[in-house]
Amino acid sequence: PAPAEAGRAPGPPDGGWGWVVLFGAFVSIGFAYAFPKGLAIFFKEIQGVFGTSYSEIAWVSSIMLATTYGAGPISSILVNRYGSRPVVMFGGLLCGVGMISAAFCTSILQLYICVGFITGFGLALNLQPSVIIVGKYFLKRRPIANGLAMAGSPVMLCTLAPLNQFLFENFGWRGSFLILGAILLNCCVAGALFRPIGARTALVKTPVTEEGKDALKGKITEDGPVESKPEEEGGKDCFEKVNQYLDFSLFKHRGFLIYLIGNVLMFLGFFAPIVFLAPYAKHTGIDEYSAAFLLSILAVVDMVARPATGVIANSRWVRPRIQYFFSFAITFNGACHLLCPLASSYTGLVVYSSFFGLAFGMVCAMLFETLMDLVGAARFTSAVGLVTIAECCTILLGPPIGGILIDTFGDYKYMFIKCGAVMVLAGTFLFIMNYYNYRMLAKEEKERKTKEEGLKSVRTEDEGKKNWNKDSTQDGPELEPLREKGEEVKKEMNGT
């Protein structure tokens, strides 16, 4: 009964309420990415008030970033259990509480906790579910949807930066944190728009789940050991339980592993150039305002590049080969960094910033789209959690390693070379591995086709499903990945 039910469930709407959800995701993702960057304006003042060094203040940002990415799996588990809506609303509340309490902090340690952990965790509960629900509401137009949702980040940054400056000048840092806490509560509003949709893994599984759930509840609410049967089943189901909410079988998934390795490598060189762009500009003698203007150029180009990339990625020619497009974007990004040391004048840096903005936007727009493409919407929830916690390490390591290179050699160019090299390497790796992956997928598809043609009894139903798949996708002959996804969803249903 379960597989048939799932088969009859309607596909992603690709529109309608989906656009409202997209707007909510835009806001939520925007806050998640832009908020930590926007806080930098307050740091100098806080550094003076608490009498700390610059690196101690920088830890606030690092803890926040680490928590946002590190809490990914927790986010995934919660979404698998409760759906996106309550998780995002709770996340928004947590962010608000975090910043409001930060306004009353009297030491740097308290700031680490309030701004770093609490707000960071709240943002994690915002980011992942938003990305997940976009994947649930869109299929045909998913690249465009992803591109638009990710565009939230530069838009929010361009809004937050002057807003933070204004708040700081009028209310000081404490008042600003208080008001920012209230502003973050808007994430709850964004979350409220995330109407649940689609077949959920928890629903589809067999009655074993029910007992497992009760056993777990029993374990949590009662401190002492739970006697007799529930305990036994709970013990056995614990691993299954975790596996139900966080799909560890993904580690056997070829596409997932390729994505994981490639991305973890890429993030080592992804953020450092942005962090050091303004200091590098000042180092070459450019004044502070022009240096800040470079970042503005980057943000504006980024803002336009993301939806544009989404549209391109959605087109008939690119979508089946979207992994190649992604690899290209990463390699392009790396090439920009490698060429940056050649730009010595301000005009050169402006050109670099524009191309960097373009490349950065392209990569970000497709970051989650490619993962969805590889693992399918159903397993994406767990996939995104596992990927973010792995990326967490390299994201945190990137800028400090760049900083060490700059301090050791006294020259920024080695940092750019390192970042460029790492990204070109990552891009090439992804390109080659995905070529291999596509070939394997095509082979498996052929094998499956010949197997199914042998089974006459389920033939008609399968054809019906295949036709449905064909109809709901574009009229391209080579949409292996999309059909593969359909097969994957089927595989999962049959697997339980």
Binding site: G175, I179, A182, A192, L203
Partner: protein
Amino acid sequence: ILTGVSGATLEKNVYVPSPTTVELTCKLDETSNLKNPQVTWKKESETIGHTSKTPNSWTIQLTISDSSKLGSYTCILKGEKEVSAVFHLQVPKIEGKEKPLITYEGDKAVMICKAEYDPKAWAWYMTNGTELVSIDKILPTEKFQIKKLSANVNRLEILKLTKQDRGIYWCEATFDLGKSKARFEVRVLSITAPLKPFVAVVAEVAILLTTIILFEIYSKMRGEGGEKEFDQIEQL
């Protein structure tokens, strides 16, 4: 031991922290129209002779022994046109904060004064009407704390702020050749000041949330007559 200037009319600030010898050079750009001009060095209006001369550059050497030697030195190149450059020799400036410092009642205010060179002494003043009142000597230490973070950075903390504490504060650094001042403006806000925008934003969030929840309930009631499948999914 310092600088050269080339081209058209220019000004340059030269900071002299302690008695030393200073060399000022005026260099003429090769592309300039002036050939073999007549050169005069002036301090304010008085003329002084120049010491060394090379093609297209003229230098004077000055011994700055006390504050009277500080001031504006001009080199004038006269030919068909007159071109001049001014060097302002002065005591180093110290850095304060141009924008006002926003603080709250009961909180503490922190003012950090930085200098590029090490001064001999630091002093802090607050303005009482038109008078400058010295802080370090007179006023109590539970309220005011002065810390020396390093030789060239000094810090004033004002604790347990009240509305009366607002105003202009001065940080003064004493160098061998003179004194330099930096200005800080302190504003003390009451806690209710940021509360107004805060409450406004929270109200906006509450209104939007209520609207969305009501809308969801309304559309659920409308959709109840529809397919059962949707219902099952939505109950989540």
